[in-house]
Amino acid sequence: MNTSCKECGAALTVPNDAIAGEIVSCKDCSTEYEVAEISNGNVLLKPAEQVGEDWGE
């Protein structure tokens, strides 16, 4: 599934087996997106949450 980076405009490919919640990042500018929804082969992305101080194990 193809879309584009909202930050830099580069082409962004989301794997066909991706599921909602998965993180994809732009190969050009490294901006991270979360897959919000997939329907009829179309993918909707939203900005991923940034690393928090309390993230991890």
Partner: protein, 283 residues
């Protein structure tokens, strides 16, 4: 059995756990918790019989586990275990009280107290945040001048828990590697060395450490399982060091990441963890 795996950032681990649960014939679903709203305490049948808590944010995970437990659901790991593991001071106390070898640890409640504790421990020692992961802000403090600068930086932090309070720990002289054991209940699922990358003293996989499988000896096995039991048990990552004096446990992780360990071992870690979830839910 219906299993829900909760997440707020879908990593390889959560997908692998979901696949393993389905392969084991469980009715499993992955739920992104960020959009959920809870009226507490109220039954939430959509979560099924048991919840495997896999949120990456400690505070979100902690509050969500409380809400789910309040609704009568069984959550792995429990909120009590999560609280002990996420607070390094609580972990140190639990390990010491259970007789598990762990580095000498001091708590200071002011900059002046931190300087006093540093002198008491002696240089070098390790300064760590109370909550945090992946080795962030974990610092070897080698002399008094560095400590004074670190105190100045710490006092400027916005986080009230880290601003005026200090967790200081004995520096353990060890090889440039540590031990990560993945534990489920009373079984060690996998055991690896985490070898620090060149130029880095920390051994976190998030910092580039490489995992290598090894077989723990009897003494290490006992220490690992005692450490897991000391914090309340469940699915845990026990981290240990191997100085010449014997094994020492320095951390027990609550939402254990195992991608690094899986790259080094043949055991199917997610399948074994799911097996534990299924078995413990039947009890």
């Amino acid at each position: 059995m219906k299993l829900t795996i909760t997440f707020d950032r879908l990593r390889w681990e959560e997908k692998a756990l979901s696949d393993a649960a389905k392969a084991a014939g469980l009715d499993a679903s992955l739920i992104d918790v960020k959009g959920l709203v809870f009226e507490v305490p109220k039954a939430r049948p959509e979560f099924g019989d048991v919840v495997l808590q896999r949120c990456i944010s400690h505070y979100r995970s902690s509050l969500l586990t409380q809400a789910l437990e309040g609704s009568g659901l069984r959550v792995i790991n429990s909120s009590a275990v999560a609280e002990t593991c996420s607070n390094k001071l609580a972990t140190s106390i639990a390990l010491s009280n259970a007789g598990v070898p762990t580095p000498r640890t001091m708590l200071a409640l002011s900059p002046e107290g931190a300087e006093e504790a540093a002198e008491e421990l002696g240089y070098p020692f390790v300064l760590k945040p109370f909550t945090g992961s992946w080795g962030r802000m974990v610092t070897v403090v080698r002399d008094r001048a560095t400590m004074q600068s670190l105190i100045e930086f710490k006092e400027e932090l916005a986080n009230p828990q880290e601003q005026h309070m200090y967790y200081l720990q004995e520096y353990i002289k060890r090889p440039p590697r540590d031990i990560r054991a993945i534990v489920a209940g009373d079984s060690i699922i996998a055991c690896v060395h985490r070898i620090a990358p060149p130029g880095e003293w920390r051994t976190n996989v998030a910092r580039g450490a490489v995992s290598k499988a090894f077989k723990p000896d009897k003494e290490l096995k006992e220490i690992i399982l005692s450490a897991a039991e000391a914090v309340g048990g469940g699915i845990l990552g026990v981290d240990a060091m191997e100085p010449e004096s014997g094994y020492i446990v320095h951390e027990v992780n609550n939402t254990v990441e195992f991608k690094g360990a899986q790259s080094a071992v043949d055991t199917d870690i997610p399948a074994q963890l799911i097996k534990y979830v299924a078995q413990s839910s039947r009890r």
